[in-house]
């Protein structure tokens, strides 16, 4: 048995079929595998594989999800944005969050950075003016082993316009 699956990723439409034959997406395939191995979007990273570290975060209908524990077969009709899709596809202009991360050198090895930027985007989509505590809480599902946390928080604060003071 196979069925059709339409994915909308970074504004583009991809048509697949779900099934066990060569080239089809098995029911067990994760969204992270589909993004990295079928579509070549390798900006989302595989780390813990259990939804604990945030390295694989992508936006699904505007909210951050762990793509390593999300099944592709369940993404029908969802709008997915990865780190590669945050900037303007025409002008190449970066999202203000990406620009702020550059401005503040808010990364070291950079492996967790795409997931952190996605989590910040998800936060600001729902709460354009978070407090510092709200920023920290929203990022508590993103691990960063190099400890770039302090610069990340500075970067996020710089993005906020008229952000609340503590």
């Amino acid at each position: 048995m196979s069925r059709d699956l339409t994915l909308k990723i970074n504004g583009q439409t991809y048509e697949f079929t779900i099934g066990r034959r060569l080239g089809q997406i098995p029911e067990s395939e994760t969204l992270l595998e589909t993004l990295r191995e079928r579509i070549g979007l390798t900006g989302s990273k595989m780390s813990c594989g259990q939804g604990a570290c945030g390295c694989c975060a992508v936006l699904m209908d505007g909210k951050a999800v762990a793509s390593c524990i999300t099944l592709t077969a369940e993404c029908e009709g969802k709008e997915i944005i990865t780190i590669e899709g945050l900037g303007d596809p025409v002008t190449g202009e970066l999202d203000p969050i990406q620009e702020a991360f550059l401005e503040h050198n808010a990364f070291q090895c950079g492996f967790c950075t795409p997931g952190i930027i996605i989590a910040v985007k998800s936060l600001l989509n729902g709460n354009p003016n978070p407090s510092e505590d709200e920023i920290k809480e929203a990022l508590s599902g993103n691990y960063c082993r190099c400890i770039s946390h302090y610069q990340v928080i500075e970067a996020v604060k710089s993005v906020l316009k008229g952000g609340k003071t503590e």
Partner: protein, 763 residues
């Protein structure tokens, strides 16, 4: 102080845009042409023998290219000295590879593993270092394994002490000088005890990755998630008798731990040979936690004597260094650990300390930042606290008296003594203590700084110093072509900002915009030799080599311009890609006229290593302990140093902050592996159970940085500190916790709630 154009200034990392847009390429992002996927069958037992193994069904599975077991694996050995085979009938820890499969997909490789039939004979394991050296303990290796180095032989679960570090010198595994009996007799206070610092996971977010393929009989191409490509290539090449070329794309964190990847690289190069194809092996996070190299597991049993005016008189002890089922470079960590203790307690006249490298049925030990000294000092300096309490002297005052000063001699890894006539950290103690508010917060040993309800606060301090910052050789060359500066120095991007520092160094010396500098990708095919990023050495060694190469290129550029302009090179200078006469800038030539379209001007540079340049980081911490729950948290931290010259201010600050994580400071109270001794397997083998510091648990963090322009081989007088920013942390944290809880003694790291409640009599 000299005003620089780039050095000391905030500059964006050249690879920053790729990182924030997801375009930066890490090993597993590469599509390897015709590569097969490797998966490994791991031993389910901590100690066993393979009675029989049948791989026929796995080999017959469609899509399987090859299966390797001890029966067909090459007879190579890795480790120091060579002891760990590619695969063995004798399995030495839970996770020891039993078989490896190369298949067209991960799914088929995993399916093949399930088809392998193995019959095991289970043997009695040994885990604890003290148990392992008792007579009659289970033998992790055997006499017939013939492990030998410089006349020292494997015996009673102890590996020979030596490593290739010492060249022709005898192994450095003990410090015996003066007369400890006399030293103890002269002491006003003598304390004795045992402290243990347990194994932790320095692990990076990106799990270890190796891809390998044999180009022909004598050439192997390897892609490695490594901070030190030559550390992957050179020792393994010597082992297997083939030339190895290593490419290191972006590395997703290392912390010293993804340096040589010695065993993993050997395993995959062997599988590529037996299967006859290119294979790629991306460890899962579970494998990373269950089987990959970790930090030393160690105990110090010792005796320390001091005078009442706070001077060290004698130190005696046995350092049991647990290296699990294998040593990647543990003997080197012993040598450097002894050196680091000697730097910290440099004024001690009488020493008798001996290390033993002990194997057990635990996960093998590899390289990790802090490299021996973090582990030894976490124990030995904690024991010292008992003596300082008796003389009622605070640790900052004590270490300022006893720490190595300019002109003092210290042991380093060869077993010889080294010294620097200029480098001195005296002023750092005062400036950093003042900024932290140490003297206001210090209320005495076992006295909390303050109480708030059930929360008790306490402060701690410790210090770390290493002789590695100018160690070993680095070569570089710089090409000037058209309007570009091309830098070749095999430095990986793994988070420390070193590649930015090198680009700035070349840009500063050639006086060009940073945008005109291209740093070659880290690849041993095109970059000259280098020991690799380790021991904070690249600031001086790579910085020095690139600086000298840029200066050499500049000299040639000016000579060639002088010939064209009909003057002498010394009359010329260059700025912004134009060479001009110093006394008449209107006489000038653009670089394009000197090195036009298809023309290269090349300068070479190198730094020959020495051990006469010691760095230093001081960790001040304040902790909060909930006396009801036993939960301890770092609430304030300050790291202090003198870095000679700041190259990149934000990256430097982040290196200090990085001392919190990656099995640094947080091993004082948070990070811990839990071993189930019934099954010999760690139970904290995922990122839910092995706790890291999250965003909502950040202490207030400050730095105190001096710039004394040290006489190093770095062109600007800088010295690196990245490796050691958290190395003194655990000792400082445990001291602070004991002070917060009123002085109850904890002698095992980390100070988790159960241990704190136990010493408080509440559990």
């Amino acid at each position: 102080m000299t005003e620089y154009r780039h050095i000391g200034k905030v500059r964006r990392r050249q690879d920053g845009r790729a990182i924030v847009t997801g375009k930066a390429v890490y090993c597993d992002d590469i599509k390897f042409k015709n590569a097969y996927v490797a998966k490994v069958l791991h031993s389910p037992y901590p100690h066993a023998e393979i009675v029989s193994i049948d791989t026929s069904a796995a080999e017959a599975l469609s899509g399987v290219k090859g299966v390797m077991t001890y029966k067909n694996a090459p007879a190579w050995k890795t480790g120091v000295p060579a002891h760990r085979p590619v695969m063995d009938q004798h399995l030495r820890f839970t996770g020891d590879p039993v078989a490896a499969v190369a298949a067209v997909s991960a799914q088929i490789a995993e399916e093949a593993l399930e088809l392998i039939k193995v019959e095991y004979k289970v043997l009695t394991p040994v885990f604890d270092v003290e148990d392992a050296i008792k007579p009659g303990a289970p033998e992790v290796y055997r006499k017939e394994d013939n492990i030998e180095s410089k006349g020292f032989h494997y015996e009673n679960n102890c590996l020979p002490p030596g490593s290739w570090f010492e060249g022709n010198d005898p192994p450095f595994y003990k410090i015996q000088e003066g007369d400890v009996a006399k030293g103890f007799a002269e002491s006003d206070v003598v304390v004795e005890g045992k402290v243990s610092y347990t194994w932790t996971f320095p692990g990076a977010p990106e799990s270890p990755f190796i891809a390998a393929g044999w180009d022909d009989e004598t050439h192997v191409s390897v892609w490695a998630s490594s901070q030190g490509p030559n550390m992957v290539a050179r020792p393994l090449a010597a082992t297997i008798g083939a030339h190895i070329n290593v490419t290191t794309p972006n590395v997703g964190g290392s912390y010293g731990n993804k340096d040589a990847l010695g065993y993993t690289a050997m395993l995959i190069v062997a599988l590529a040979k037996t299967a006859g194809c290119t294979v790629k092996y991306a460890m899962t996070k579970e494998e990373h936690l269950l089987v990959y190299e970790r930090r030393l597991n160690n105990k110090f049993m010792g005796k320390i004597g001091i005078t009442k005016d706070g001077m060290m008189r004698a130190l005696q002890g046995d350092w049991l260094v647990g290296t699990g089922a294998g040593s990647e470079l543990t003997q080197g960590q012993v040598a450097e650990g002894l050196g680091e203790l000697h730097l910290a307690l440099n004024k001690t006249p009488n020493w008798d300390i001996t290390a033993k490298v002990v194997v057990s049925n635990m996960i093998p030990v590899g390289i990790a930042r802090g490299f021996g000294g973090q582990e030894l000092k976490a124990c030995a300096l904690h024991l010292l606290n008992r003596a300082l309490k008796q003389i009622d002297m605070d640790p900052v005052t004590f270490f300022k008296k006893n720490f190595c000063q300019a002109g003092d001699q210290y042991y380093w890894r060869t077993g010889h003594k080294y010294s620097n006539p200029v480098i001195n950290y005296d002023k750092c103690f005062d400036v950093a203590a003042e900024k932290f508010g140490w003297h206001e917060k210090w209320k005495g040993w076992g006295v909390p700084t303050r109480m708030e309800g059930s929360k008790a606060y306490g402060v701690g301090f410790s210090i770390h110093s290493s002789g590695d910052p100018q160690s070993d050789e680095t070569f570089a060359y710089v090409r000037l072509e058209n309007d570009q500066v091309m830098v070749h120095c095999v430095v990986s991007q793994f988070g420390n900002g070193q590649r930015l520092a090198l680009a700035k160094t070349a840009a500063e010396i050639l006086n060009v915009p940073l945008e005109n500098v291209t740093l070659n990708e880290s690849d041993t095919r095109t970059d000259p030799a280098d020991f690799g990023a380790a021991g904070s050495r690249e600031t001086i060694t790579a910085g020095g080599a690139v600086g000298r190469a840029a200066m050499a290129a500049k000299e040639k550029l000016l000579e060639e311009a002088a010939a064209k302009l009909g003057c002498k090179a010394k009359e010329l200078d260059t700025k912004d890609l134009v060479v001009f006469k110093k006394d008449d800038p209107s006489v000038s030539l653009p670089w394009m006229a000197i090195c036009p379209m298809y023309y290269s001007i090349t300068g070479q540079g190198m730094v020959e290593g020495d051990f006469n340049h010691n760095n230093c980081v001081m960790n001040f911490v304040e902790v909060e302990v909930d006396l009801e729950t036993g939960l301890a948290k770092i609430v304030n931290a300050l790291s202090g140093s003198d870095v000679g010259q700041i190259i990149s201010p934000i990256e430097l600050k982040m290196q200090f902050e990085g001392g919190l994580g990656s099995a640094g400071m947080d091993t004082g109270q948070l990070e811990e592996f839990v071993l189930d001794t019934n099954i010999g397997r760690i139970v904290t083998h995922n990122l839910i159970d092995y706790k890291w510091r999250p965003f909502n648990e950040l202490p207030n963090f400050e730095t105190s940085v001096l710039e004394s322009r040290f006489p190093t081989a770095n062109p600007f007088g800088a010295i690196g500190i990245g490796e050691i920013t958290g190395a003194a942390g655990p000792a400082a944290v445990l001291m602070a916790i004991e002070n917060a809880i009123g002085g109850a003694e904890i002698n095992e790291y980390p100070a988790t709630p159960d241990k704190i409640l136990k010493v408080l009599g509440k559990a």
